[in-house]
């Protein structure tokens, strides 16, 4: 019997805690695979944040720390400064990164901390039951914007990759989605590249992943994937926002 497919050694055998149809699990797999393929799993330290991925320290098959809400990039900075040869990454939701942890994230990026941030943008607060996130779309109904998000009351959805593009310390920045096989393959390439850049000590790397939350969007899993395509991607265009490696080659 030949083995056609094996679960990545980058993840533990602990069953994932995510809802059926949630794409958090896919992103975990892509991170795990990247760590194994780059042969950095045994020097990796994961930072789990507060949100649905709070238990991710149980899933990534490496050392880990669990950070207070929003503080993952500060914790990662603390580790990376004392262990510069280790691989340090955070895994954060949009409430965690784009709301309560925006200061920690911007400053880590601005210092060019040599860490990798996996940023899950699902346009909602999943864990606490579907409240509005800074990334929720205009018109999106959430438990705290029941008539739909509107600009006058809530401001516009915050575009993290567009913002971070302007920061000098950022070495690699791409927005990807995990709503279909083609996009998953692109997401994998992006995540792996981010870790490769960290291995090469190029600076701050972040991958924004458009991810589904069928439960709090009130959709069937398949419809949630379609909504990423129809509603999220037009608001959050996919692509490479910054690639210092490619820029270096050009120059």
């Amino acid at each position: 019997m030949t083995v056609k497919y094996e679960k990545t050694k980058g993840l533990t055998d602990k069953p994932l805690s995510y809802c059926p149809g949630c794409t958090h699990g896919i992103v975990h797999k892509l991170v795990g695979e990247s760590l194994v393929e780059l042969d950095i799993l045994d020097r990796a330290i994961a930072i789990a944040s507060v949100g649905c991925s709070v238990f991710s320290y149980q899933f990534f098959n490496c050392d880990a720390q669990q950070a207070p809400h929003g503080r993952a990039c500060a914790e990662a900075t603390g580790i990376k400064r004392v262990l510069p040869d280790n691989i340090v990454f955070t895994y954060q939701g949009d409430g965690d990164l784009a709301s309560i942890g925006i200061a920690e994230t911007i400053h880590a990026a601005n210092r060019g901390e040599n860490i990798t941030v996996i940023f899950i943008n699902n346009a909602i607060y999943g864990m606490t039951g579907g409240q509005m996130a800074p990334t929720s779309l205009i018109g999106q109904k959430t438990t705290t914007s029941q008539d739909g998000r509107n600009q006058a009351d809530h401001g516009n959805p915050i575009k993290i990759s567009e913002m971070f593009k302007t920061i000098e310390g950022v070495a690699y920045l791409e927005r990807v989605a995990v709503n279909n096989p083609k996009n998953v393959i692109r997401a994998k390439k992006a995540i792996k590249k981010a870790f490769k850049y960290q291995k090469e000590k190029r600076g701050f790397t972040m991958i924004e992943v458009l991810s589904s939350c069928p439960v709090n969007w009130g959709m069937k899993p398949v419809d949630a994937l379609k909504w990423i395509e129809s509603d999220m991607i037009p608001n959050y265009p996919l692509g490479v926002f910054k690639d210092k490696g490619a820029d270096d080659e050009k120059n």
């Binding site: 045994d42 330290i45 050392d63 880990a64 720390q65 603390g78 580790i79 400064r81 004392v82 920690e104």
Partner: protein, 356 residues
């Protein structure tokens, strides 16, 4: 090294280096700025880590990260900054990570002022963070004592896997004294940090995790019980205090830090007037030196708690006294320092000072 003349804050910084600090993360605030300034120069020059964070919130979480990675880490701040650090402090205590936190108190509440104060006794000993946790808190009264405690605090933090707070005030931070950095530190057996999150390559076959999440209430209660057992060991082993002028005192003063220095002068003045006053000077605030109170003679007329606050340590004095003697209070706050004569007056008019 022979004796050198040094400013308190700089002495704190040098003592931290002597104590083996690997990394400092902090955010500027008066009156402790000379601590990070000194460290920025001397840590970086020696290949160690110094980082000015974007906020106290970030700084304490950097401390969490580096402490979890197994390094000797510290931060320092003052009252409003320590307030912001409470979130991280609670997580660090919960995850049982060692670190040293220097708190140079100034007047409060709110933005308050920048003059010396002791109004953060509750903040240090009761905690502003959530949950059942304790810091180990030392409150030295001189620069020499601050140096000795700073050096030892890293060992104590490692030994108990618990944050240690060194609590001083702006006066100790700013004054100068002739000091010795080479006094030996008590030897402790410090086990390997086999729990450090430094990559499984350093501990194959085992994943290390720094975490405070316990979703199962049974497990969380067990963790709380475990922490209490640790704090009880600390209470048994780490109590520190000094008894001053304790043969047959008529009154007993209880004071720590800068206030204890002022009270020493008051006691001398009172002695000249034929009034014998002793002093309990707590050096550890947690664990609080309750046992010292058993040494107060039965016939003493009362205990005067003196603080640079409106009365915070007073709670611990009342608990330790347990109704045995009359307890009075004298306090100044907001950055105002009393003259020794004010304390002399307070002792002479003790009955007006009695709170219980």
């Amino acid at each position: 090294m022979a004796k050198v003349l040094m400013k308190g804050n700089e002495a704190i910084a040098l003592a931290a280096i002597k104590g083996g600090v690997d990394a400092f993360y902090g955010y500027p605030i008066t009156p402790q700025n000379e601590v990070p300034e000194y460290l920025s120069k001397h840590l970086l020059a020696n290949g160690k880590v110094f980082l000015q964070a974007e906020s106290e919130v970030a700084a304490i979480n950097m401390v969490y990260g580096a402490a979890g990675a197994g390094k000797r880490v510290m931060t320092s701040s003052s009252s409003p900054g320590i307030a912001l650090k409470q979130e991280g402090i609670s997580y660090i205590a919960a995850a049982e990570l060692p670190c040293v936190i220097v708190s140079v108190m100034r007047g409060g509440p709110g933005l308050g002022g920048i003059q010396p104060s002791q109004a953060d006794y509750y903040q240090a000993t009761r905690g502003g963070g959530n949950g059942d946790y304790q810091l180990i808190v030392y409150a030295p009264e001189s620069i020499q004592e601050t140096i000795d405690i700073m050096k030892e605090s890293f060992d104590i933090a490692d030994y108990y896997r618990n944050p240690v707070m060194v609590l001083v005030d702006g006066l100790i931070g700013q004054m100068m004294e002739s000091v010795d950095f080479d006094k030996p530190v008590k030897e402790r057996f410090l086990p390997e940090k086999d729990w450090a999150t430094n990559g499984t390559m350093n501990h194959p076959g085992k994943r290390n995790i720094a975490n405070s999440l316990q979703i199962d209430p049974k497990a969380l209660e067990q963790h709380n019980i475990h922490l209490q057992e640790k704090y009880n060991t600390v209470k048994k082993n780490e109590v520190r205090y000094e008894l001053i002028n304790f043969d047959d005192p008529e009154y007993v003063i209880v004071a720590y830090g800068t206030m204890a220095r002022i009270c020493r002068s008051a006691i001398e003045l009172l002695e000249k007037e034929g009034i014998s006053v002793g002093m309990i000077r707590p050096i550890s605030l947690f664990p609080y030196p309750k046992e010292a109170f058993a040494k107060i003679p039965d016939k003493a007329k009362g205990i005067l708690t003196c603080e640079l606050s409106q009365g915070q340590m007073l709670d611990d004095v009342l608990i330790a006294n347990n109704g045995k003697h009359k307890v009075g209070f004298f306090g100044r706050s907001g950055g105002m320092l009393p003259d020794p004569e004010e304390i002399v007056e307070a002792i002479k008019n003790f009955n007006e000072r009695v709170v219980k």
